[in-house]
């Protein structure tokens, strides 16, 4: 099929859609605003204990390798979509590529890391072949005069004088796989996130467990041995405008707890929850295995107080009367919220949003993955594939 497509976002849904489209012979521009493809899932840890727990995090490096090997997919990192015009079957898109750090020249030697005064250079995920500059932290992007990293780079990969490149392309269809934003746990002030260092989010636990073996996640020798998981943080919460279940938190939290216990069998785990969601192929077995190992307590604590140990206070709702329980690590299972970019994307692509703020597709512009609603990694991959298959069908219909 002689056609081309723009896929916005290089997370699992974008990767799935790009591979499916390219498989049908369609040229794909895979645009990623970050320095590397992979999305949130690329930061997650493998949650296998002595058996696979089907978290699908291992599929991401494999899908990344597949898209790199697919000649019809052109991967554009550090690139933003700035304009989309036209209609289904004939879109003109304008892309803007920022290339201060050229990943093709970077060999990840680490010399830039050593000189950066702000710690603004890092790897987006452990297997990214190149470094990236965190524009939030970098002072040069804030207008200050600093080019220490550029001078330290032996291959000339960093160059602040390199101009932003504008790219124009004509495509028949667009897939927006722009992803989501994990719920900002600071909004739940009473749960203590941001105030007590041993209150962390599920995402932070993922990343910490991905970097180390064992469970000494703070690196201070105080392994958390009594861990509380608080579910539904920012999900099923009307006050936060999230009157929906995020679908992923029960699964990742149970798997993470299982992993911590596998690494450190003395770890005690308590779940504070409303309803445990066990949907998805093979997950019921995972839950049944966990059920005897963990304590399950119905009810979400009203507030968390700091101290040597963290105190979880209950306010009398949900059978917990006015109890107080203590733990030495609190993990907030933060949910999936619509990306803050959705308003801008909706304007740029002329899309509508649903009542929660997730994107809805229209003719010629398809929405895949968590941009359209909560999904886990494998569901996002499958949704990307489904979306792409529908796009191909519509394209065939238009041609035939």
């Amino acid at each position: 099929m002689k056609a081309s497509a723009l896929v916005i976002g290089g997370g699992p849904a974008g990767l799935g859609a790009a591979l499916e489209l390219a498989g049908a012979g369609i040229k794909v521009y895979l645009v990623e605003k970050e320095a590397a493809v992979g999305g949130w899932g690329a930061r997650y840890v493998c949650k296998a204990t002595d058996k696979c727990r089907q978290c699908s995090a291992c599929l991401i490096p494999e899908k990344i390798q597949e898209v790199y090997q697919q000649p019809l997919v052109e991967i554009l990192t550090n690139t933003q979509v700035v304009g989309v015009e036209g209609e289904a079957g004939s879109f003109q898109v304008r892309l803007q590529r920022e290339q201060t750090l050229d990943p093709a020249l970077c060999n990840a030697c680490g010399k830039c890391l050593e000189v950066c005064p702000k710690g603004a250079i890092d790897r987006l995920n452990p297997w990214a072949a190149a470094y990236r500059i965190d524009k939030e932290k970098c002072v040069a992007f804030a207008g200050e005069d600093c080019d220490l990293c550029a001078r330290a780079c032996p291959t000339g990969a960093i160059n602040f004088q390199r101009p932003v490149v504008n790219l124009d392309a004509s495509v028949e269809l667009v897939v927006a796989a722009t992803g989501h934003q994990p719920f900002d746990a600071r909004r739940k002030y009473r749960l203590g996130y941001g105030r007590f260092p041993r209150v962390i989010t599920g995402l932070e636990l993922e990343e910490a467990l991905n970097e180390i073996e064992g469970t000494d996640i703070f690196g201070d020798g105080r392994k958390p041995l009594d861990v509380a998981f608080i579910q539904c943080v920012g999900s099923r919460d009307v006050q936060e405008g999230a009157a929906y279940c995020s679908r992923v938190c029960c699964k990742y939290a149970l798997r993470l707890a299982g992993l911590m216990r596998h690494r450190e069998p003395e770890t005690q785990v308590t779940f504070y929850y409303m309803d445990i969601q066990t949907g998805g192929k093979g997950f019921a077995e995972v839950y049944q295995e966990c059920r005897d190992d963990f304590a399950f307590v119905r009810g979400i604590p009203a507030r968390v107080e700091g101290g040597d140990r963290l105190k979880l206070h209950f306010d009398g709702v949900s059978g917990q009367s006015f109890a107080t329980r203590e733990h030495d690590l609190v993990v907030l299972s933060v949910g999936i919220t619509p990306s803050p970019d959705n308003a801008e994307l909706a304007r740029l692509l002329t899309l509508n949003r649903d009542e929660h703020g997730f994107l809805k597709g229209r003719e010629g512009i398809y929405v895949a993955g968590t941009a359209a609603g909560p999904r886990d990694i494998s569901e996002s991959l499958a949704h990307g594939m489904e979306t792409a298959a529908n796009a191909i069908i519509n394209l065939e219909g238009r041609e035939g």
Partner: protein, 121 residues
């Protein structure tokens, strides 16, 4: 010292490439854990390897369904042979390492090097 690491290209081989590899390591890429033979492991020892690792996918997510399980069984069998011929069977190990487990790969290799150093001291 020399450690031969048989890696499934779907998993451990990708994990192996996520960081610095110790100089002692020789990687041998295989299409699936199920491809490794007892003969390969024994030949590695015969040709001077101090340790041999067989690193594959988790048993329940092998692309070929039973490849990892077969690799594990073969390693167990080869360990018995090593025992009989007087080589410490701990010099041969099987571990599951998925593609996103770079730190785990390095930990397994470091542990083996450490163990071998202790054994030879």
């Amino acid at each position: 010292m020399r450690i031969v690491v048989f890696c499934c290209e779907n998993s451990a081989y990708q994990a192996a490439r996520q960081g610095q590899l110790p100089a002692e390591v020789d990687l041998i890429r295989l299409p699936c854990g199920g491809r490794v033979e007892v003969l390969h492991m024994l030949r590695a020892f015969e040709r001077g390897a101090d340790g041999v690792l067989v690193l594959t996918c988790q048993e329940d997510n092998c692309q070929s369904l039973h490849g990892s399980a077969r690799a594990r069984h073969r390693v167990e069998y080869a360990k018995e042979i090593l025992q009989e011929i007087g080589i410490d069977p701990e010099r041969l190990q099987w571990h599951p390492v998925t593609s996103n487990m770079g730190p785990r790969f390095r930990k397994i290799v470091a542990d083996m090097i450490e163990g071998l150093k202790l054994a030879s001291a």
